[in-house]
């Protein structure tokens, strides 16, 4: 078993075994015997051997973080992204305000207005990342898959205002082609189609 | 020249330290200055080329004062000043000062009159350690052994006093037993 399988396997009972615990010494004599036994049996030295061998093998697992980075799970909840429609490049956000409502740390605010076609559009969209706890409710609740969590997890900043405005989160128009359909947190499940009840069409 | 400077320096330091020890109301100050004073005393031994005694002074007294620290730690809050119920009387100061002065005079008089002679002068051939050893195990053998026996007795007594219920381990006791003890 490897990777995901290991975690999905719930049938682990066969791997259990009983650890033998020797009785705790009660009298001083028993304690002394145990000290002698443990000192003369090379327990302490085995400990030393293990660490020394590990050092000599030099099997290093460190990842030198700023230079090297671990791959991030697609379901990771990083800095938010506002997506555009892939074909037209229009903003996906319809300004429904569900994210604003559901946000448990109350850090999302949007301003909306009707545009010239009579559609509702968000004129401004902010997330106060100083308060955001990256719970992902906003991405979960978004009916348009417009707000999603990006992969970016380095969000230390010198100024609070950074990352907070719509322009910072919105996919730039020239990078529309790089925008991927979001598979991660909040996206519909693969079985979503099956769950929809069909409406009759009379025409 | 160095020796004179060192002597007066350490003498002054020692006196200051002990004055602090006596006058301070804070246990921590008192003990720290006591320990410092003891160590400064060892300097005199070094100045007199009695290295062994000097080191013994350091080891013995630092250990002894450490024990005092342990007691201080257990008995009082060493960061706070101790409130003394009996205010020192002037007569006590006066008398103890006079006695100290008297002692100094008594000890100084023979030196001033230049009539002191060492009964057992230092011999350069043998080392300091050996000299102490020889004196201890010849002339002062009986007092040394008596002192050793007394210390042994004190130690045994201390162990017996302290060892009541030493075989009982709180960590190994069953809850029920602890409750029983509590009920008693």
């Amino acid at each position: 078993m490897s990777g995901l399988e290991q975690f999905q396997d719930r049938n682990v009972s066969q791997n259990y075994y009983r650890v033998k615990i020797e009785p705790y010494p009660k009298t001083p004599w028993e304690k002394f015997k145990r000290v002698v036994r443990k000192s003369l049996k090379p327990d302490l030295l085995i400990g030393l051997k293990i660490t020394l061998l590990e050092m000599l093998r030099f099997n290093i697992h460190t990842i030198q973080y700023p230079k090297e980075k671990l791959p991030v799970s697609p379901r990771f909840r990083g800095i938010h992204r506002l997506l555009r429609l892939l074909e037209s490049g229009n903003e996906r956000c319809i300004g429904c305000g569900l994210c604003e409502k559901i946000c448990i740390s109350n850090c999302i605010r949007i301003d909306t207005k009707p545009d010239e076609n009579g559609r509702k559009i968000p004129t401004e969209y902010t997330i106060n990342f100083g308060r955001c706890i990256f719970c992902g409710y906003c991405a979960e609740v978004c009916p348009e898959l417009a707000i999603v969590h990006g992969q970016e997890y380095e969000y230390a900043s010198e100024q609070r205002a950074q990352f907070a405005m719509k322009e910072d989160m919105l996919t730039p128009l020239d990078k529309l082609k790089e925008q991927k359909e979001y598979p991660g947190f909040g996206a519909p499940t693969p079985a979503a189609d099956k769950l929809i009840k069909k409406t009759p069409l009379a025409y | 020249m160095f020796e004179v400077v060192a002597f007066y320096l350490f003498a002054a330091l020692t006196i200051v330290m002990f004055v602090i020890t006596v006058t301070s109301k804070n246990a921590l100050y008192a003990m720290s200055s006591l320990a410092a004073g003891m160590i400064f005393i060892s300097a005199f031994f070094f100045l007199l080329d009695a290295d062994f005694l000097g080191v013994v002074q350091i080891i013995v007294y630092s250990g002894a004062v450490m024990a005092l620290y342990a007691f201080a730690m257990m008995f009082m809050d060493t960061t706070k000043e101790v409130k003394e119920n009996n205010p020192p009387k002037k007569i006590v100061f006066f008398l103890s000062g006079m006695i100290a002065l008297l002692l100094v005079l008594i000890l100084l008089t023979p030196i001033i009159s230049d009539k002191v002679k060492a009964l057992y002068p230092m011999s350069d051939e043998i080392g300091n350690t050996e000299a102490v050893g020889i004196v201890l195990f010849t002339k002062y053998l009986v007092p040394f052994e008596v002192a050793a026996i007394m210390l042994l007795v004190a130690m045994i007594a201390g162990i017996i006093l302290a060892s009541k219920r030493m075989d009982e381990s709180i960590t190994l006791k069953i809850d029920q037993e602890i409750e029983q003890k509590g009920a008693e």
Partner: protein
């Protein structure tokens, strides 16, 4: 009143009166019956059919079924559940899934009932029809969201009286007959109707109405929304602040709905106003004129100057756009520092009420708006009802529509809105200054002649004149005719014509002069003599009568005599009398303040002109909070002390701060004065925080408390007869506000902002040879005011100017009376 009966709903015994709708009984008793289309106080439309219940084993609609004694109602049966679910499914057919952006989302009845009926699947379908969005001035109508419950149509007709909306054909596909077998009966019927219609304007593309916006309020879905509010926020983000409307004396209950202005600006802003439409309608000024706040900061220097001015001054002039508590502070200032208090409107009302009391025996007038709603006959004298107090007009209309009642409307200016209320409402367009005659007319026609003081009866009799008129009389005449008859000869069997003389009695109409007696009052009022005949049918059934009196009377040169007559009417006729206080809190000021007639030398104006001006409009020497930034109480037309709350924060100084600095007030907050309002005037010692502000389920108003009506000793002096007043000869203009305006405060609101003009009817324009947009000089004595002319199609004659624009100095044009004679000159 109607007899009390008992009915059982779902096992609960409910007491009610006979003839009440089952739905209302259930609501009053806290039993839930779903209904979308029914509106309290309006006629049932039976559009939604959700309120289906089983009465004594028969399915009926609760909104339509009247309660009978011993009736047993079951609100839920298996069939009803099926029907309701099918109905909700039908409503969801082709309803756009744009809840995300819809303004109603979160308070949408379609959403609520879809969930309530557990609709999770759609069984029905039909081809959708293109339904374009319509922009009706303040109102945005998204037809595709409309479920044609007709609440807007109903409320416009039954409550407001504009009847500007109706259902129009949708142009959609016809429903396939096969659905009829497949679906429950009521759902099919409802769908059939729904698929055919949509809401539209009665005439043309634009609405012809007074822009009350009540249709926005009643719309259960997001089809009708305020254009200004459209897509600016979500309803659930808003804080609802219950308050009283500050624009007119109705002081209607409303909610200011606030939220932070924008992301950058955290200051709260009012996004819209909503009301409890089931219990109280709201006019357009209240609904759209909400942002009249005064955003001022603390200005210590101005405050110090104000204190100095107060020390110097001897007079305070103020208007009635203040709370009771502020009025009390002013009164305290007068008591302790000797200022003279000047408020013309309130003083006139006070004088009128005092004289009225002398003859009615009561300190306050007798009727309130609810009485108007319940009346079968309503008379209005001396008020331009539609703009002076829209809620009274709605009540008038409601009474006419729902109680099959009628009324009389005495006013010099023709009003098509009143005329359109119904045939049973007869307008009497008399000349100005003839209001006395109108009151005598009421006594003449409705007074109990046996109880009325003798001198009045005698005077009325003396007014009777004998007139002749041509009347068609039916006379029978004997006529001899020659008739040709065909007779069959018996013998020959031949036909034979025979001439015969026949005498007949034939009825014939003949014009003949007839003498009859009629009161001279008809002529004085230019009233049609058959007036009472038109109302005969209504009057025969009428049980409750209400007389509405307006500001024309208080400003009338003979106001005192008018007041006395009104007092008599209250006592000796079936009428209950209601006075319309001219401004929001005129009644409160009249009761609380001890007003003076003449001012002194140095005046402080509070929202009025003076040497030092305290202003809530933000144009004075010291800023004061506007009424949506204050908490306090108003004394409204219902003689009720209603609380209002702070919708927007105010950072500057308030009147109480001044009073504190002058050593008159020892209170920290203005509302601490609420319990100190004068009890001898009928106020009660109740803390502001203990005042309720809500409606109960059965529609009872539970806001604040009602003033106590005290007994007053009657006067024994005779009332004077009608005085001959000099008639107006030249051009007469009226002082009145256009619809949607009341004061400079409404004019401050961004949706209603407009410039003051001379509003003229079409006939007036023709007479004066003017056109819309022309500039005219209005001249009186040596005052000339230049303004633009605008056509107002909501009046049938005459012209008026408003006081809402302070740049037009109307005060100098009108010396008291609301009509004045001026010279008009085209510029």
């Amino acid at each position: 009143m109607s007899e009390k009966i008992k009915i059982t709903i779902d096992g609960k015994e409910c007491e009610t009166i006979a003839g009440e709708y089952v739905l209302n009984v259930a609501r009053a008793n806290g039993i839930f019956i779903p209904a979308i289309c029914y509106l309290t106080n309006c006629s049932p439309t039976l559009a939604c059919r959700l309120c289906l219940v089983e009465a004594d084993g028969k399915q009926v609609y609760a909104c339509n079924a009247k309660a009978k004694d011993g009736m047993s109602i079951v609100t839920i049966t298996e069939n009803i559940i099926k029907e309701r679910r099918a109905i909700m499914e039908v409503y969801d057919v082709n309803h756009p899934l744009e809840c995300g952006v819809c303004d109603q989302s979160g308070e949408c009845e379609l959403q609520n009932y879809t969930l309530e009926m557990k609709v999770d699947q759609q069984h029905y379908a039909i081809k959708d029809t293109y339904r374009p969005v319509k922009h009706w001035n303040f109102i945005h109508y998204d037809a595709s969201l409309c479920i044609v419950c007709e609440r807007c149509v109903t409320v416009c007709k039954d409550m407001i009286g504009d009847a500007a909306l109706k259902t129009v054909p949708r142009g959609g596909d016809k429903l396939d007959k096969s659905w009829k077998e497949q679906m429950p009966k009521d759902a099919y019927a409802m769908w059939n109707k729904l698929q055919k219609s949509i809401i539209g304007a009665v005439a043309g593309e634009q609405l012809d109405c007074t822009w009350c916006g009540e249709c926005i309020s009643v719309c259960p879905v997001g089809a009708l929304v305020s254009e200004d509010y459209h897509y600016t926020t979500n309803s659930w983000e808003l804080n609802k602040i219950p308050a009283a409307c500050a624009h007119c004396s109705a002081a209607c209950h409303l909610y200011y709905e606030t939220k932070h202005t924008s992301i950058e600006n955290p200051e709260p802003k009012i996004y819209r106003v909503t009301n409890e439409f089931h219990y109280q309608p709201l006019c357009g000024a209240g609904r759209f004129g909400f942002d009249f706040e005064n955003r001022a900061k603390r200005d210590k220097e101005a405050f110090d100057r104000a204190i100095k001015a107060f020390e110097k001054a001897d007079t305070i002039i103020f208007d009635s756009y203040i709370t009771n508590e502020e009025a009390l502070i002013l009164q305290r200032l007068k008591e302790q520092r000797g200022y003279k208090l000047i408020n013309e409107d309130a003083l006139r009302l006070k004088t009128f009420m005092d004289n009225y009391s002398l003859y009615s025996g009561q300190s306050l007038y007798s009727a309130d708006v609810k009485d108007v709603h319940e009346s079968q006959f309503v008379v209005s004298i001396g008020t331009a009802l539609k703009s002076d107090n829209p809620r009274v007009r709605y009540a008038f209309n409601n009474a006419v529509k729902m109680n099959k009642g009628g009324g009389l409307y005495f006013h010099p200016i023709k009003d098509p809105v009143i005329e359109s209320l119904g045939k049973t409402v007869v307008p009497v367009y008399h000349k100005p200054l003839r209001e006395e005659a109108a009151l005598y007319f009421i006594l003449q026609e409705f007074g109990n002649k046996e109880k009325l003081p003798k001198y009045i009866v005698e005077y009325l009799n003396s007014l009777m004149v004998t007139k002749t008129k041509e009347e068609e009389v039916e006379v029978t005449e004997k006529v001899v005719e020659v008739v040709e008859e065909t007779v069959v000869d018996k013998k020959t069997g031949k036909e034979k014509k025979v001439e015969k003389k026949v005498t007949k009695e034939v009825p014939k109409k003949v014009k003949k002069p007839v003498e009859y007696k009629v009161s001279a009052l008809y002529d004085m009022l230019d009233a049609p003599e058959d007036l009472m005949d038109k109302l005969k049918k209504v009057l025969s059934k009428a049980q409750k009568f209400t007389l509405i009196l307006g500001e024309d009377l208080y400003t009338h040169p003979r106001a005192k005599n008018l007041a006395k007559l009104a007092g008599l009417i209250d006592r000796f006729t079936d009428f209950e009398v209601m006075l319309i206080p001219p401004k929001t809190n005129s009644l409160g000021v009249a009761l609380i303040c001890d007003l003076d007639e003449e001012g002194g030398e140095y005046t402080i104006g509070y929202n009025a002109k003076g040497d030092f001006v305290l202003s809530a409009l933000g144009d004075g020497d010291l800023d004061m909070p506007a009424l949506n930034q204050q908490e306090g109480t108003f004394t409204n037309i219902d003689k009720r002390v209603v609380p209002t709350n702070v919708a927007l924060p105010y950072e500057g100084y308030v009147l109480n701060d001044l009073a504190k600095a002058l050593g008159v007030s020892d209170k920290e907050y203005t509302i601490e004065f609420t319990k100190e309002l004068p009890q001898e005037k009928g106020y009660k010692p109740i803390d502001f925080d203990d005042l309720p502000n809500e409606f109960f389920n059965d529609g009872t108003e539970h806001r604040g408390y009602r003033l106590e009506n005290k007994k007053v000793n009657l006067s024994r002096k005779n009332i004077e007869p009608i005085a001959e007043l000099p008639e107006f000869n030249g051009t007469v203009i009226y002082r009145c506000e256009p619809v949607l305006q009341f004061s400079p405060f409404t004019n401050k609101a961004h949706q209603l902002r407009s410039k003051g003009k001379l509003y003229a009817s079409e006939t007036f324009l023709k007479e004066m040879d003017l056109e819309e947009g022309n500039k005219v000089n209005i001249q009186k004595d040596n005052i000339t005011i230049t303004t633009e002319v605008e056509l107002d199609d909501k009046i049938g004659s005459g012209a008026y100017v408003g006081t809402f624009d302070p740049s037009i100095d109307t005060k100098s044009l009108f010396d008291g009376y609301r009509f004045t004679e001026v010279k008009l000159q085209k510029v």
